[in-house]
């Protein structure tokens, strides 16, 4: 059952990624990206990464989609942009064939070389709790995250700063 759900979500992820690339409307592309994130959140949950799934669902499906929709609504395309999007479908017409070729090639390589990965849980070790790992083992990551967030906030303030009137 787990395998079936994960494979189904993987198919959905690739499908939504393809639609995000090929759809002409940027709004629909952003919604496709959100749907892809939702499918990834299901996969993370099925793999036992509950907290990561929660973050993926709330931040990537929620926050990033809001950021995209705001950016799209603030940048209403002019005529030149419409002209750019006219050949959009033609530009991405080769993508499905490239994906099929890449997928078939990778599967052929994996099967022919007998590439082996252990089954989930086969090499299980004594696992610490997520909060213990995050707050005790990966403290430097948290510091980095705080600095990245502050840098991002600073960048947004600088980008939207009103210029001085001379």
């Amino acid at each position: 059952m787990t395998t079936f759900v994960i494979v189904l979500c993987l198919v959905l992820m690739v499908g939504f990624a393809l639609s995000a690339a090929m759809l002409r409307s940027m709004l629909k592309s952003a919604v496709s990206l959100a749907a892809m994130s939702a499918a990834l959140a299901v996969i993370l949950y099925m793999m036992g990464a509950v907290w990561a799934a929660l973050f993926e669902l709330s931040v990537c499906v929620g926050l990033i989609t809001v950021v995209f929709i705001s950016a799209i609504s603030l940048t209403t395309p002019d005529r030149r942009d419409e002209a750019h999007t006219k050949d959009h479908r033609q530009r991405f017409a080769a993508l499905p064939f490239i994906l099929i070729a890449a997928g078939v090639a990778l599967i052929a390589v994996l099967v022919s070389t007998g590439f082996y990965l252990p089954q989930p849980g086969e090499e299980a070790v004594a696992e610490a709790a997520f909060n213990q790992v995050l707050w005790q083992t990966r403290q430097a990551d948290i510091l980095g995250q705080i600095l990245i967030l502050l840098a991002g906030a600073f960048a947004v303030v600088v980008l939207f700063k009103e210029g001085r009137k001379i």
């Binding site: 992820m13 990624a17 990834l40 990464a49 530009r91 990778l106």
Partner: protein, 102 residues
């Protein structure tokens, strides 16, 4: 090799190829951000799978959360750049980004 490993590795490769193809084929800044996000989803998937395989889900979750934070910051800053560029140039063409100065 089981079907799940093949499916996950193939899906990750396809997502990376899709992201790279979008990056190469478009000049629209919003689409470029979407392309980066698509490729980063593949990395998130592979990290989570690695943790699941090794039985170290907590450690992989810590990395995934870090990646999600980075995704948000990249998306917000890049969207801000896109909006600034649009206000200055009237379109979202990344080739005109060098006109942003000051």
């Amino acid at each position: 090799m089981n079907i799940l490993s093949i499916a996950i590795l193939t899906a990750a490769l396809l997502l990376i190829v899709t992201g790279l193809y979008m990056l190469v084929r478009t000049h629209n800044m919003i689409r470029i951000i979407i392309a980066v996000e698509v490729a980063m989803k593949a990395i998130t998937l592979l990290l989570a799978y690695a943790g699941w395989l090794n039985g170290q889900t907590a450690l992989s979750q810590a990395f995934v959360v870090t990646i999600i934070v980075m995704e948000v910051v990249v998306a917000v800053v890049a969207a801000g750049l896109a909006i600034s560029s649009f206000r200055k140039n009237g379109d979202l063409d990344i080739r005109r980004l060098n006109k942003l100065n000051g």
